[in-house]
Symmetry: C2
Subunit: 156 residues, 2 copies
């Protein structure tokens, strides 16, 4: 009886240590490639999102690159880019929608080219966060921010 | 005795299943975010490298995006970009060098802005592969390819 107890206890300890290691690895696997950055405090977003600026635009290379992390439910307002934007999905599950089109679900490895001057929004799904790299061309002007994405629009 | 055997066997089975799951997760954690693509067959590279084109440039948004995977030792030739280039390091260990500057070691999460019209090269370290996203602006002209990076230059 004592042997069984010791064996059972050892088994529980080994399995529990493996389970912890598995959680640690899963945690690191869901981390972004780039830093999370700082909380976005302007009013162009709904919910909680973070930005790490990776590259600033300049007069010779007018492209900026930022890593944006959206918590579940967080999203941009509707907006448009005179010079267009490219989104690279790094992790999580998110949404992208152009005005008048159906909402697309985005996952790690997906890529979106937002056409110039077309209103759109992007953000996390309701249950899972979302990490994207945004590549924005600013040679034709800065981002134009529009109205909020309503809960009805978000859920549709 | 029979109970001990059954318990021991169950323990081995559970631990072995956890170990497999752990290996699977580790494997996926070291994979690139984007597809590896196809082997590059032009002569602008030394060694074996792969390209997955993520976004093509167009007249309105003149930025192309490609995921490049270099096997250990593989690198580009010296080259320059009239419109500049941005490199995002997704995985592995690589090198980046501008003409007349010291070679930089790059790791996951590092970001490089290659100035316009400055000759440079990039590639994997000798021992570890390298995965990068290259964001190239083509509004001022196409990439100009120069001479090979010699073994001496590569090792320096």
């Amino acid at each position: 009886m004592k042997k069984i107890l010791i064996l059972a206890l050892s088994c529980v300890m080994i399995v529990s240590s493996y389970a912890q290691e598995k959680r640690d690895i899963q945690q690191s696997a869901t981390n972004s490639v780039f830093p999370k950055g700082t909380k976005i405090t302007n009013n162009n977003f709904t919910g909680t999102a973070y930005l790490e600026t990776l590259i600033n635009a300049d007069s010779l290379n007018p492209t900026s690159v930022g890593n944006v992390t959206f918590e579940p439910g967080a999203r941009t307002k509707w907006h448009l880019h005179p010079g267009g934007q490219i989104l690279l999905v790094i992790d999580g599950v998110g949404y992208y929608q152009e005005k008048g089109q159906a909402k697309k679900v985005l996952r790690k490895g997906d890529v979106i080219k937002c056409p110039t001057n077309v209103a759109h929004w992007h953000g996390a799904s309701a249950d899972t966060g979302f990490v994207q790299v945004a590549i924005t061309n600013r040679h034709l002007g800065e981002t134009v921010w529009l109205q909020e994405v309503t809960d009805d629009e978000y859920k549709k």
